[in-house]
Symmetry: T
């Protein structure tokens, strides 16, 4: 019997729409659409439905996260630069009561000191940092497995 289908919200924070063009030395050459397409395929195999949402606006991200309550089963998030400054994003994620998995493309711990602190990690299930675009897929698997077990 196949597992019950899960709805997963994928949140991409500020500047992630620039992936593939923005500083490829740090962030790689894969575009956000390619990441989302790849994730969708992977999700289907895992009997999941994804909704991806990117915004450069903290407020839109919070709006979208709030709507996840009741309709989604988990949140996969790369908060971008908001990782290090947004208490409101943390509060929005916590308010949903959903399991949250935090992903960073680059290894934030090997970059500027201000990127070593995350307001999100304290309420996340786990953190994946430095695996590039692959980190999303890895995170999706881990999040789904956590929800199902």
């Amino acid at each position: 019997m196949p597992p019950e289908s899960l709805n997963i919200l994928v949140i991409h924070g500020p500047n992630l729409n620039m992936l593939g063009t923005r500083e490829p030395d740090i962030y790689g050459r894969t575009t956000l659409d390619e990441i989302d397409s790849g994730l969708a395929v992977q999700a289907k195999e895992m009997t999941c439905v994804l909704e991806s949402f990117q915004s450069n606006h903290e407020g839109e991200l919070i709006d979208r996260i709030q709507q996840a309550m009741g309709s989604m089963d988990g949140i996969l998030i790369n908060p971008g630069g908001l990782t290090h400054s947004s208490v409101s994003l943390r509060d929005a994620l916590a308010s949903t009561g959903l399991p949250v998995l935090e992903v960073h493309l680059s290894n934030v711990f090997a970059r500027e000191p201000f990127r070593h602190q995350s307001f999100i990690s304290g309420i996340a299930l786990g953190v994946i940092s430095g695996l590039g675009a692959r980190g999303y897929g890895v995170g999706l698997e881990a999040l789904v497995e956590h929800i199902r077990h």
Copy 2:
């Protein structure tokens, strides 16, 4: 002779639209609409007119606060998570030249250390923390009294 009517702007910051559903252990079960309704009744008795505004967007909050200049007599604000991170919100409030009263539902001083610092308090008339939904009513009274005396 009744006092001159006052216009008070009530600002609710990010995630406060979730009141009543979001982490009721911390924030209580009253919804934001209920708070606003109660405040409106109280305001009427005090010969005041309220305008309430909630947004998860720092920018919309700043837009609304800027418009208060000239039309409003005071601002009652619960800045939510922006309390601890937004210099721009502080600047917007200060730019109006209006008296500002800061309200927090939970006692922020008994929570995580990053919630002990407020960018707003330094330019506020006063701060009320931990009285739950009642803090708004209390704050409204204090703000109106300050303006009238």
Copy 3:
């Protein structure tokens, strides 16, 4: 049916006996007796009995707070300068197991940095700062409401 009468201890810390004479720019011109009289009237309306106690001695404050256990239903306290230095006062308040509401006349967060830290807030129900003498009345209402609900 009127609510059951409540006994509330009102504690005024060091230098608050100087109210009305001491630095009126910061603390206002109302005397402590006037505050206590006003609070007593308000308490009566709320079917409460107040006991007010002021001392410049940390030890006397602790003695009085300890006696509240068993005979009082809540504590309204303006710890004055002890706010920022007295672990013993915190321990005394916590030892009673009673709900505690912390009041400051001035907005301590807009003053010297050493006034931004409170040893009391961590064990208080809530904090009211900057509402002047009115903060006591507001605090009393909130405390009583908390106890009754």
Copy 4:
């Protein structure tokens, strides 16, 4: 032979739309429109075309900055209060690969300590602080000269 025309994006952060009305003691009496008009005249003389953009929304600023990539030759920015809190704005600026010049109307180094730190300076070509509205003109010249040489 006249120099090749340059396209410069001028970004004004939160609350700068209030210039001329907001705290004139600190920010002066010139309005943002007057600044932009003056800059446009100066730009023309330097064979440049300016696009000015103000928003109170971090997200809109980031959206606009991202569009600069490919169409603009440099960015002149007064990040307002976001200077001290927005990693995302820094990332957006860095992602364009364009030269960035940071301008502050007031001398931020002579104000509150939290204004002494800038997330933008680390990726800026230079910083101009405290020259009032004139700082924009100065910055424009320096930025254009940097691009042309």
Copy 5:
């Protein structure tokens, strides 16, 4: 030949009179009288005479400690909340020139960060923390042994 009798001053700081009633989860259910009685029995066996003194007043504690000079052979002290805030208590203890042993009922190092610092430890012979009421007996033995050897 029995050892010469020793006079030991036992000092209990603020709130220790509440032992047995105050937060028994942290401090246990033994009362201060029971601790003092037990210590007196133990002292007699060790040919010592104890004088126990508790006060919630820093000043009274200092007064009593000063009198120990010349009449006492050592001081066993649980400074309570003054541990973390009182330079004057430290100075009083140091001024007697007597050996001092510091006792805490709870393990202060496993509690709030502000309890990890002691102004007393720097001039104490030793520190015993977390052994509950038994810590006094242990401390008395160690202090007496230190004085006699």
Copy 6:
């Protein structure tokens, strides 16, 4: 054509031999042998050969890591408590010149503050935290993919 076989060293730091018995609330119920067996299967499918090594001795870990130079293609490491204290382990890993992937079973960023700092992250390819035993598998995939691409 199958990819060339890779040799991966899996390093488990102090106390990880206790997995399954040690604080299962934090670390789960899977034993280290089960983790290693699962990884071996996964490795085989990826045409990799694993060597797993656990020790409670910093020195033995360093000895083993040094031997990886020349014979191994990458290192997957859960440094346990040494994460936060061992410069020597960092130096050993860096000295091999091999890609290193850091794994933590629990989300170290949601635990005590001293667990938020890692000496290893600064020289790691990436960090995976909080995915439980699954984090090893995820890390292995990411490490192998990094080496092959």
Copy 7:
């Protein structure tokens, strides 16, 4: 014409009653009575009347300082260990509106780090540290001269 007589309050903080017996290497061999007698003689020559007050109780010191308002012309204070811990003493001194001169027998800046910070200096006219008992006489002269000129 002789100058108008001045009333000066001399405050000695905790442990200063021990002068002459307490740690003479640090504090010298002159007793507090000898200091007060010497000061009285000096005061007479300066047409001043002194009132000296020593207490080990913060509260008594505050009580006495508050009474100075209206009857005294200035305060000469050696706050002892309270220098470094008492916000309440600072507030009491400030509340009198009288000029305050702070004296320390030893050079506090050459002792333990916690003695390098003073809550009193911020509201004092000046500070004299390390001149031993003579510091009081020097301070008296300076204080009187300040008041008369």
Copy 8:
């Protein structure tokens, strides 16, 4: 009826094998063998069996502590220099689930600042510091009493 026999593991950290020869001014002249012999006698009287283990190797200490799980009833530990640097030792102790009592021969709080912090205290039942070799005996009694009651 005599109490059930208890098994207590006594752990001596790095350099404690040097006791009696190493810096006797700080650590005294008693050797570790003498301490262990004395403890064994004391243990017998308390119907306990001790196993003492000293090592200069963090790893060996962790190995031995892990084996205590299931066979021992409590751990008495002087972690030596590892007190201030070893997260792994803390984790090993915590992983056993056994009550732990921390002993230091010297008063670490009166020595260099880096000795004022302990990674062990946060998970210990209690801490005894500065009682010299006697601290072990005291600690044993307290540990056994804790286990039996």
Copy 9:
């Protein structure tokens, strides 16, 4: 009518005499003489007279600055390395009561952390950083405009 002529003192701090030879990657290839010549031409057009002074000696810089009082109308200063270490230079500038404009060739905020703090900025009219030699001209214009308006 031409504006009244102004006298501007241009101060170059330590090592600026090395411009053009010293680390051209950071400081550019223009020599100090060239900068001074360019400034002189610019000054003439603005009806100003410049006096330029460079020294590697803090004392000589202070001597020269002091002489500006009465004879000069403003000071343009690049304090070099003294920016980050000299309170005396700050005091000298402040003592003249003249408007001061601070210039740095490189963007000090993008260099070592110790270059992010300036003792001069707190008393300067404004700060220009990172515009290279051009920063002097820009600063001169801004300074003159400030004086004339």
Copy 10:
């Protein structure tokens, strides 16, 4: 019999030559010559010979202080801004082995935070701060008395 004559070196640090003209609100209206003349008269009465030396050059101050060795009996110094930045001045003073008394005209402890730290105090006999020009006379008396007793 008159006391043996003493030679006292009076050192005035940077900017003190500006006394009387420089920021009279902070430093008063007495000139340095007037201070030196007054001190000379006072010295004569005390059978002392003064040598006064002012320089804005740290190096000249050090040169002069070094020469004091052998010919002088004590040093009275107002280090000006070097107080807070010059380790070399501290070393020069310490190298003479002479008693040093530190004087500040203003109360440095009530000014900017960077003026609260002194490199000189740690090797000074005492510190006098905030007594204005009078502080020198007071300091001279205290220094001479210290040398003679």
Copy 11:
């Protein structure tokens, strides 16, 4: 008469066995054997006998250092990564009572901030950093000279 022969223990900490292969840009291409051979020749000329010992195990290093007591005349140590983390190594060195000279191949002060702090320097005779392999020879000479004079 030749000087009496001296026995010098040379301790090489973790990862130094990798010299010549490990990150030659930082540590050079000389192997540890070559260093030891060179030192042995140099020692012979100085009538010294060396014993060299390398380990990656803190515990083995401590064991070996403890044995030096009585048989060795001094210790030359490059503590490697333990420099920055091992209190136990410091204690072992101090416990021998022997003169200790600390050597680092690279200039640790020009590397990561965590390498700027040494637990060893506080008890060392001296520190040599950044001279590469030659630092050992230099250190040996200095150590021997210190012992003989």
Copy 12:
């Protein structure tokens, strides 16, 4: 063939002219002339020519260092107290592009905390601390060897 002759500048910072007289317990009894003579002999054997320069003036030291560019091959410097305070000296040394070796007579790391930080070390080849006068000779050898190899 003898090596090409090298020119080495030896810089002695403030107070080093006092060597042999100044605090011999810390700095030894060798005079600076003796050190320079010894170094000259040693230099000759190494086919080097030394120029030694001492000054108590930061400015003179910078002047002399700047002149080294072009004529000298390396700089051996004991910056004295300027080590811990002079960014300008660091900049001067860096501006020459020459290899710099930093020497301290005493072990600065075992003295006051403010001596543990060096502005020079970050741009030095290496640091030698605590070898007394011998440190110069050692440093000269290392510097010359570095230049020649």
